[in-house]
């Protein structure tokens, strides 16, 4: 725990709750930022951070569920842990369905919150790294020439150089040259990792 770049965002309109959660999370080594409303969070926080959001469902103005929906529209997939003062089952079902990481009923135990935060952050870090890799891969894919792109598609569908040469009606040697350039441009060193990345990026057939 305690990655330098991980931030926990606490959003609650109750000062007591903000302060106490801030202490608790800091005691576990997290960097904490607190906000009195969803609106303040949207205007001040860096939505690309690695971390997680701890959010009260009942707030004046924009509610927790509203914020969740809004973040979804803005392609921010930071995990959200909801808190509620009363066990509202339908509301928690709605939140979880929309991808909430957890739903805690106040008052909750430190271990409950911290383990929930830990697993949310861990998963998001993993997803975010994958996502970054994929985005990088897609960016690189655009630099391929049309011919290189054809070769790329045949490579990931598992054809040998000879078969590709017949398919494209070019010399096997030319295929080799294209293939080397594709690997270089996409920044991979083996066919296996090329196939895995293409699969994740949804480019394989």
């Amino acid at each position: 725990m305690g990655d330098k770049d991980v931030f926990i965002f606490v959003i609650d309109d109750d000062a007591s709750v903000r302060k106490s959660l801030s202490f608790l999370l800091r005691s576990a080594g997290y960097e904490v930022k607190t906000f009195v409303s969803a609106e303040e969070f949207l205007s001040r926080a860096d939505l690309n951070s690695i971390g997680c959001i701890i959010l009260d469902v009942r707030m004046r103005g924009m509610t927790g569920l509203d914020l969740q929906e809004h973040l979804g529209k803005r392609e921010c997939h930071m995990p959200i842990i909801f808190m509620t003062g009363h066990g509202d089952v339908p509301m928690s079902v709605r939140a979880i369905k929309k991808g909430a990481a957890d739903f805690l009923t106040k008052p909750f135990d430190d271990t409950q919150l911290l383990s929930s935060v830990e697993s949310a952050v861990e998963q998001y870090t993993r997803e975010k790294t994958d996502l970054d890799k994929i985005q990088d891969f897609l960016r690189r894919l655009k630099t391929l020439t049309p011919r290189e792109h054809e070769v790329f598609l045949h490579v990931i569908s598992g054809l040998l150089n000879k078969q590709i040469a017949i398919e494209l009606d070019i010399k096997e040697h030319t295929v080799k040259v294209h293939r080397g350039r594709v690997m270089q441009k996409l920044g991979v060193d083996s066919v296996a990792s090329l196939v895995r990345l293409a699969e994740k990026a949804g480019k394989s057939k």
């Binding site: 109750d14 007591s16 709750v17 302060k19 106490s20 959660l21 202490f23 608790l24 800091r26 005691s27 576990a28 009942r58 808190m83 003062g85 009363h86 066990g87 509202d88 805690l104 009923t105 106040k106 008052p107 909750f108 135990d109 430190d110 409950q112 919150l113």
Partner: protein
Amino acid sequence: MLYRVTNKISYLQSNSSIYRRMIKHSLVIILISFIFFLAGARAQSADSIETKRVLVLYSLEKGNVGQERMDAQLQAIFSSNKTFNIKIYNEYLDLIRFPEAKQISHLTDFLHQKYAREKPDVVLTVLPPALDALEQHGGTLFKGTPVVAACLPRDRAKSLADSALRKRATGIIYVDNAYEIAQSALRLRPGTKYIAFIAGASPLDISFKVPILREIKRAAGGMELIDLSGLTIAETLSRVHNLPPDTIVFNTSIFRDKEGVTFTPPEALRMVSNASNAPVFGFVETHMGKGIVGGRLASLQWQIEKVAELAQRVLAGESPAAIPIAEEGGYLTIYDWKELKRWGIPESSLPKGSIIINRELNILDRYKKYLFAGALFLILQTVFIAFLIDTNRKQKTASAQLRESEERYRELLRIDRSSRLGELTASLAHELNQPLAAILSNAQAALRFLASGKNDPELSREILQNIVQDDKRAADVIRSLRSMVKKGETRKEPVNINDILREVIAISRGELTAHNVVIETLLDEILPSVIADRTQIQQVALNLIMNAMDAVAQNSPDKRKIILQTELRDGFVRASVHDSGPGIPAEQADSIFDPFYTTKNNGLGMGLAVCKSIITGHEGRIWGENNPEGGATLSFALRAADHG
């Protein structure tokens, strides 16, 4: 009762499902209490308007038609007054039958003492004798209290205007309209040669008679007058039976005859009219239907409305001296159909727009409606039978649909009720949860800092201060909750505990039925009332019943019985709720009324604490004891109102 002590802060445990369930159930009693409280608050705002007392002094004995009408109307008008809560007190002075000065002196002494504590804010007098009584003894009776005098003959109104009493009195003239009535009577009987005149012998009779006679003489010109006033009733009847042809009779009032026999004027009039061989005319609306032909009579309705209006203006602060004595302003042109027929007066000769009472139709006229209705009935019956046959078929399908929609309605009702309760619960839970959650997180953060060896006194101080603040905040929520129950302006009034128990049983009927709990009552029906705040006592009763209900909930369904009992003991009204639950644990009989004492999984432990604070606030006693045959009895006792 089920009294198992649970750890008071066990609801802090993190198992959210237990927690959620607890919150849901625990507040039901308090919430119902709140609903009572809110309802009470609304009732109080209506009751917080100032109470004003109106004392009506009727001159005659109880039962007089005009007075009865006035009383009914005044009740109706005053009860719709929005500014004040007007209480009406009636006194029937019966001054015609008991006119002696000594009697009146006793009467005024009696009234003086009777109303010493409940001083009227305005006194209304009806007819002059009551006003006369008020003026006697130098006007010391209800000294300083404003007076509105109703039904005054013009002369009496004039003497009021000149009297010292006028400084605090105003009045309304009851116009006899004698000149106009006499003229129209002469028009209806064109050949009239004699005018007979009937009045009683009491001063009141004379005070009505004098101005009317003056007007009749004016209308009759030089016509011969037969004066039948101030005779015995027997003489009057015999004379009126033997009047010369072409006579009309005017009758003012007979309250008392020459020999001191008293009457109500309408009953005397009835006798006169029955005996008379000539048409009788009168001047008072309440005499219609008692044997007078009719005319343009002053409206009693108008008089009543005017009295009420003046009384309310006085209550609102206007000085009676500044209100001019009012002149009659409403008239009814009204005739009695039976009298018209009796004397052969054609309806065509009546003024346009006249009201005709007592109309009787001839046989065909009278039964035309029935004959027509009979024929119509036969036709309708036939149609109806055909319709029934058809309907019967449709009914089967309809009743199935009805059952279905009824079930749907009940379902909706249930959802609605539980969602409203849910909202209230949620907001209370939220209020308490915020500080509780903060305390927990703060404390656990501090433990973690300590465990990690990070010893920062500044940080520790800050965390501890937060805990202190949050704790106070939670305490404030509880305190305000309790003070809401306790402080809410109490309004003490005589209440009957039996009535309250019945109301509360009615309210909790649904809950009781849902839990298969049978409730039995042993109510002492001649229970005196107690001085208490109705809403708060309702709350106590409800809490006790709900408590007993929870206590018997563990029993098998056939043993879930609660008995409510009331009795008068040593000057206290005692209400007890017996149950057949597990009883109160030994040594706990007193602590069950402590706040947060609970033995239930779903209780906050506030219900009985609230009861205690209410009953203590009423200087009463509340206690619990185990029954020899099992179960417990919770009772409260309040001092009986007339043993105070």
